[in-house]
Symmetry: C2
Subunit: 102 residues, 2 copies
């Protein structure tokens, strides 16, 4: 299969039992996810960039968490307002957004 | 922060709205996740190997999906019975389980 060039994982505190609670969920993790989805569609990056919501990364105090593979770059305290900068600088520009790296 | 050596993502069809439906969920994705958690605990790999449940990867017909980064190895049709082989050969042995690769 065709693998994505970059794969973005966003914690939305998705529990396997369907529960919707957790730090990233309470801190707008879902809004961060939605903003990524919207921007990736607008920029027509869908073939190159995959996106997934996830359950807890276990570092809630640094949330909302966004992880980009295969780069292995971990971002913390991400807000919907940070999404365009991550896409511009990192995903399209190739340089991690250092101020958000944890 | 200390990053994991390997990061395993397992589709449990976790929707951001808490809905629990989808192919991987119906095909025991949650049982695959639980088996990985149990084995990683038993093998005391918790510091080196991270594990997350995810929402849909968009390739449901190949599910349940398991993705290992930074290796960028994608597995399909994974059952709870396959988990030990993935851990033995791939995570501890360094070689992907070719029969499950998609």
């Amino acid at each position: 299969m065709q693998k994505p060039e970059r794969h973005i994982f966003i914690c939305t505190s998705s529990r396997v039992n369907g529960q919707q609670k957790g730090f990233c969920h309470s801190k707008d993790g879902v809004a961060v996810m939605m903003k990524f989805m919207e921007e990736i569609k607008d920029r027509e990056l869908g073939g190159e960039v995959f996106i997934n919501n996830t359950g807890c990364f276990g570092i809630c105090e640094k949330g909302p968490i966004v992880v980009v593979y295969p780069d292995n770059v971990w971002y913390g305290s991400v807000t919907p307002e940070d999404v365009e900068e991550i896409l511009n600088k990192h995903i399209e520009g190739g340089n991690a957004v250092e101020r958000l790296v944890i």
